[in-house]
Amino acid sequence: MEMNLLLAVPEFIVLGTAFIILVMEFFMTGGSRKVSAVIGIIGSVAAAVSLINMPVGRALGGLYIQDQLAIFFKWLFLFVTIIVLYITMVYEHKIERWKGEFYSLVMFGLSGMMFMASSADFISFYVSLELVAVCLYVLAAFNTGNRLSVEAGLKYLVTGALASGFLVYGISFIYGATGSTGFTDIAVALMGGDTSIYLMIGLAITVLGLTFKVSSVPFHVWSPDVYQGSPTPVAAFLASASKAAGFVVIIRIMLSALAGVKGEWVMLVSLISGASLIFGNLAAMPQKDIKRLIGYAGIGSAGYLLMAVAAASELGTGAIMFYMVAYSIGILGSFLAIVIFNNSEGSDLIESYAGLSRRSPLLAISLFIGLLSLAGFPPLGGFIAKFYIFAAAVKEGLWALAVIGVIMAIVSMYYFLLVVKSMYLRPPKNTDPIKVDCVSTVVLYIANIATLALGIYPGPLTDWVMNIAKLFFKSTI
C-alpha cells in the first residue's frame, strides 16, 4: 500500500487554491472578487506546470493512477478552467452573492475532475464523481434570485442523484461478479469473457448511470434546462470539462476494466449513441435560446463521442481526446461571446443576434467559427474531430451508426447555420456597436486561431493523442 502522494501534487495545488480562495473570504467584504479568479488562474497554471514531466505510476494504495491519458485530460481540464474563470470574471456582476465561493467551487470541481481522470478503482471514481457533482449542483443553482437557475440546479440534482443510484447499484453487481473494485483486477477477472447474469445486469446499469455525466440518452433531460438556466460560465464548464471528465472515466471503465466483455456492451453503447444523436440534434432544431440550443447539441455530440466508445479501439480513444479538445475550444469561445453579448443586450435569444456581424464583427466571427466547429464544418477543428470519429466507426464496421452520424451532422449544420443566418443575413434592430474589452478580444482571437489551426494542421495533436491511446491500450492488455 504505497501512498506516493507526490504523484497527486497537481490535485493538491488545485485543492489548496480552492481553500485559499475560501479563506480569503473571511477578510474581504463586498465588491468584486476578480482577485479570487486571478488566484484561481494562477493555481491552475501552477498545477499545469507541475504536470510537465510528471512521472507515471500508481498512488493512494492503487486507487489513483497517473498515466499519459490522465495527464492529457488534466491539462485539458486546467485549460478549460482557466478560461471558465475568465468568463466568470466577465460575468461576475450578474452573480448576486457569494462571489468568492463561486470561484472556490469551480476549483473544487476541477480537483474532482482531476481525481476522476486518475481514478483506477470504482471507489475512487465514485467519490471523485460525487465531488464534482456536488460542486456543480450548487453552481448550477447559484443565481438564487433567478427562477430558471434554481430550476436548473434542482433538475440537475434530482437527475444526478438518480444516476448516482444507478451507478452504485451497477458497481455493486460488478463487484459481486468479479470480486473487486479495482479496474485492473476487474479486467483480469473478465479475461475469460465472463457472461454471468449478474455481470450483465451490473454492466447495463453502470453504463446507464454513466450517461448522466456526459448528458446522453437516457439521463440527458437535465442538459438543455441546465445550460439555459444556470450561470453561463457554469454551462461552459459543464459542456466542456465536465463532459470530458465523463469520457475519461468511460474510457477507463469500458475500454480497460470491462474490455474483456466488449462484445456484450458494444450493442448497448451503440444504441445509446444512436438515440442521443437523433434526439439531441432533432430537438435542437426548433430552439430559440442559444444556450438551450447548445444544450441539445451537446446531447448530440455525446452521441458522437459514444460512437467512438462503441468503436472500442485505439483510433476511437484518440478520437475522443481530439474531439474533446476541439469541442472545448469551440464551446469556450462561443460561451465567452454569448456572455459578452448578454452583458450588452441582456438576451440569449437567437433572433436578438440579428445583424451582429455589423455591430461587432469579432463576436460574430467568433460565434461563426465556434458554432460551425461544433457542427463539424471543415476546415475547423470540429471537422477533424468528427472525421476521426467517423473513421473509427467505419473501421470497426459500425455502418449504421456512421450513416446516422452523417445525417445528424447535416441536421446540426442546419441549426447552427440558423444562428449564422441571424448574425450575418438579418438586418440589426439597432446599429450600436458592442464593445469588447481587450483581454476578451485576445481570448476570442486565441480560441478562433486554435480552432482554425486544429482544422488546418491537426498533425501534432493527432500524433500526440494517438500515442497516448497506444500507450493506454498497451498498459491494459
Binding site: F377, P378, P379, F383, F387, F390, A391, V394, K395, A402, V403, V406, I407, A409, I410, M413, Y414, L417, V420, K421, Y424, L425, Y457, P458, G459, T462, D463, M466
Partner: protein, 497 residues
C-alpha cells in the same frame, strides 16, 4: 519553370488575395477589385501554362507536389494533374476570371466580403481538381461549399435564405456520404497492404475484391451524384442558381456541378469494378436527368430557373458519356463538362446583367430587348445556340462525341437522348424570341447595353472560348484523352460482367 510549385501557386493565388483583402479597407473599392483581378489572372495564366506544358506524350500525373501532413494517418498534401484535371483547372480559371468582372458590375454593397468569399470558393475548387489525396480532396471540396452560404445569403435575390440553406445542407450531405466511402477505401486498402494512406495514386494501384468495390461505389456515387446533380437529388440546384448573384451562379453551374462529375470520375478510377457494375444504372438515371431537367426547363418562366434546370439536363449528357466507359464517350463527357461550364457561365452572366437593371427575370415581362441591347442579344443567342448543340460551338463537338460513344454501349439510351436536343432547342429558342424579339416595350427604355470594357470583357472571353473549342476541339481533346485512356482501360480491364 522546373521545380516551381505551379499547382500550389494556382490554389494559393486566390487564398493570398483573401489574406490581403482582410487588411484592405472596405471603401477602397478600386484596390479591392484590382487585387481580385490580379490574383485570378495569376491563376488563369498559370493554368494556361499547364495546358501547354503538360506533356501529352508522357500522360499520367504530372506537376506532382507532395508534403507529409499528418503522418500517423497517412495524410499528405499531394497535388498532381492528369489531362482531365488540367481541362477542369483551365475551365475554373476562365470562369472565375470572368466572374470577377461580372461582380465588378453587379455587386454594389459589401464588396470586400463578396470578393473574399468568392476567392475562397474558387481556391477550394482549384484544390479539388488538383488533389491526389482523398482527404484534401474532401477538404477543398468543403472549402468550395461553405462560402456559398454567405454568397447566396447576402448577395442573392428572391428566396435566398431558403435556397442557401438547402444548398449548403444538400452539398454537405453529399460530401459526407462520399467521405464515408473514401474512409472505407482508406481502411480496406490499409488492411490489405498494411500501410494506411489517403494517397489516391497508391490506392489506385491496388485491386479490391469485386463485391467490396460494388458496395463502396454506391456511397461515392450518391455522394458525388448529389452535386452533379443526379436526379432525384437535384432539387437544391435550380433554386440555388436562381437565388445566387450572377458570379456565384456562374461558378456554381459552371464549375461546382463539375466537381460532382469529376468526383465520379475519380471513383471510377479507384474502384473500377464497382463503376462497371453501376454504370448501366447511371446511364438510366442520366436519361431521367436529360428529360426531366429539359421538360421542367420548358415550363419555367424565370430565366435563371430555366438555365438551372437546363444545367441538370446537360449534366445528364455528361453522366451518359461517363456511363459509356469507352474512349470517345468519356472524352465527350469531359469536353462537355468544359463546354457546358463556359456556356452556363455566359448564360448566367447575361441574365444577371439584364436582371441587375430590370429587376425581373420573368420572360413574360420582356419583349424586344434586342433593339435596346443588341450586344447582349447577340451574346445570348450564341449561348442559346451553343446550348442547343449547334455546330461551330464547343457543345456540339462534345455532345456528338457523347452520342457516338453511347450508340456503341447503349443504343436505345442514345436514340432517346438525341431527342433531348430538341427539348433544349425548344426552350432556348423560345426564350430568345420572347425576351429579345417581338415588339419593344416603353418600360424597358432605360436599359443599357454592355458598352464599357469591363462590362463586355467577360462575355467576349466566354464566347471566344466557346468558338475556339468549337472549331479546334483537339486543343482540349488531345489533352483530355491522355487522362481518359488509362481510366477507360482500367475500368474495362476489370473482370466483372
Amino acid at each position: 519553370m522546373e521545380g516551381f510549385p505551379i499547382l500550389s501557386a494556382i490554389i494559393l493565388a486566390p487564398l493570398i488575395a483573401v489574406v490581403i483583402l482582410l487588411f484592405v479597407q472596405e471603401r477602397m473599392i478600386a484596390l479591392i477589385r484590382t487585387i481580385a483581378v490580379v490574383s485570378t489572372s495569376i491563376s488563369l495564366i498559370l493554368s494556361f501554362y499547364l495546358l501547354f506544358a503538360y506533356d501529352k506524350a508522357l500522360g499520367g500525373y504530372q506537376f506532382i507536389e507532395k508534403i507529409e501532413w499528418v503522418k500517423s494517418l497517412g495524410i499528405s498534401y499531394h497535388l498532381g494533374v492528369d489531362g482531365i484535371s488540367v481541362a477542369m483547372l483551365v475551365l475554373t480559371s476562365i470562369v472565375i476570371f470572368t466572374g470577377v468582372f461580372v461582380s465588378w458590375v453587379g455587386i454594389k454593397h459589401r464588396i470586400k466580403e463578396h470578393y473574399i468569399f468568392l476567392l475562397l470558393l474558387v481556391a477550394g475548387v482549384f484544390g479539388v481538381f488538383a488533389s491526389l489525396d482523398m482527404l484534401f480532396f474532401f477538404l477543398f471540396y468543403e472549402l468550395a461549399v461553405i462560402p456559398m452560404y454567405p454568397l447566396i445569403g447576402i448577395w442573392g435575390s428572391a428566396n435566398r435564405e431558403y435556397a442557401t440553406m438547402k444548398l449548403t445542407l444538400y452539398l454537405s450531405l453529399g460530401a459526407l456520404f462520399a467521405l464515408l466511402g473514401l474512409l472505407s477505401i482508406y481502411f480496406t486498402s490499409g488492411a490489405q497492404t498494411g500501410v494506411y494512406t489517403f494517397d489516391m495514386l497508391a490506392i489506385s494501384q491496388l485491386s479490391f475484391d469485386s463485391g467490396y468495390q460494388i458496395k463502396v461505389f454506391l456511397p461515392l456515387l450518391i455522394g458525388f451524384g448529389v452535386l452533379v446533380p443526379l436526379a432525384p437529388f437535384h432539387s437544391w440546384s435550380p433554386i440555388g442558381h436562381a437565388a445566387a448573384p450572377s458570379a456565384v451562379s456562374m461558378l456554381h453551374a459552371g464549375v461546382l456541378m463539375k466537381l460532382g462529375a469529376y468526383g465520379i470520375i475519380r471513383a471510377m478510377w479507384l474502384v473500377p469494378e464497382g463503376a462497371q457494375f453501376w454504370m448501366p444504372w447511371v446511364a438510366g438515371f442520366a436519361l431521367i436527368n436529360i428529360f426531366y431537367g429539359g421538360m421542367v426547363a420548358m415550363g419555367r418562366k424565370d430565366m435563371k430557373f430555366m438555365i438551372g434546370y437546363s444545367s441538370s439536363s446537360h449534366m445528364g449528357y455528361v453522366l451518359l458519356g461517363l456511363a459509356t466507359v469507352n474512349y470517345i464517350g468519356v472524352n465527350g463527357a469531359v469536353l462537355l463538362m468544359f463546354a457546358h461550364g463556359i456556356m452556363t457561365a455566359l448564360a448566367f452572366s447575361l441574365i444577371g446583367f439584364v436582371y441587375d437593371q430590370a429587376h425581373t427575370r420573368m420572360m413574360y415581362d420582356f419583349s424586344g430587348l434586342a433593339k435596346k441591347l443588341p450586344f447582349v442579344a447577340v451574346a445570348f443567342a450564341i449561348m442559346a445556340f451553343a446550348s442547343s448543340g449547334l455546330p461551330g460551338l464547343a457543345n456540339f463537338v462534345a455532345e456528338l462525341m457523347v452520342f457516338i460513344g453511347a450508340f456503341k454501349e447503349y443504343p436505345i439510351h442514345a436514340i432517346v437522348a438525341v431527342f433531348g436536343i430538341i427539348v433544349t432547342a425548344t426552350y432556348m429558342l423560345r426564350s430568345i424570341r420572347d425576351v429579345f424579339f417581338r415588339e419593344p416595350q416603353d418600360k424597358w427604355d432605360h436599359l443599357k447595353d454592355a458598352t464599357t470594357f469591363v462590362e463586355r470583357l467577360p462575355f467576349v472571353i466566354l464566347i471566344i472560348v466557346l468558338m475556339v473549342v468549337g472549331f479546334y476541339p483537339s486543343i482540349l481533346v488531345d489533352l483530355i484523352n491522355t487522362g481518359v485512356v488509362p481510366l477507360v482501360d482500367k475500368v474495362n480491364a476489370s473482370t466483372l460482367g
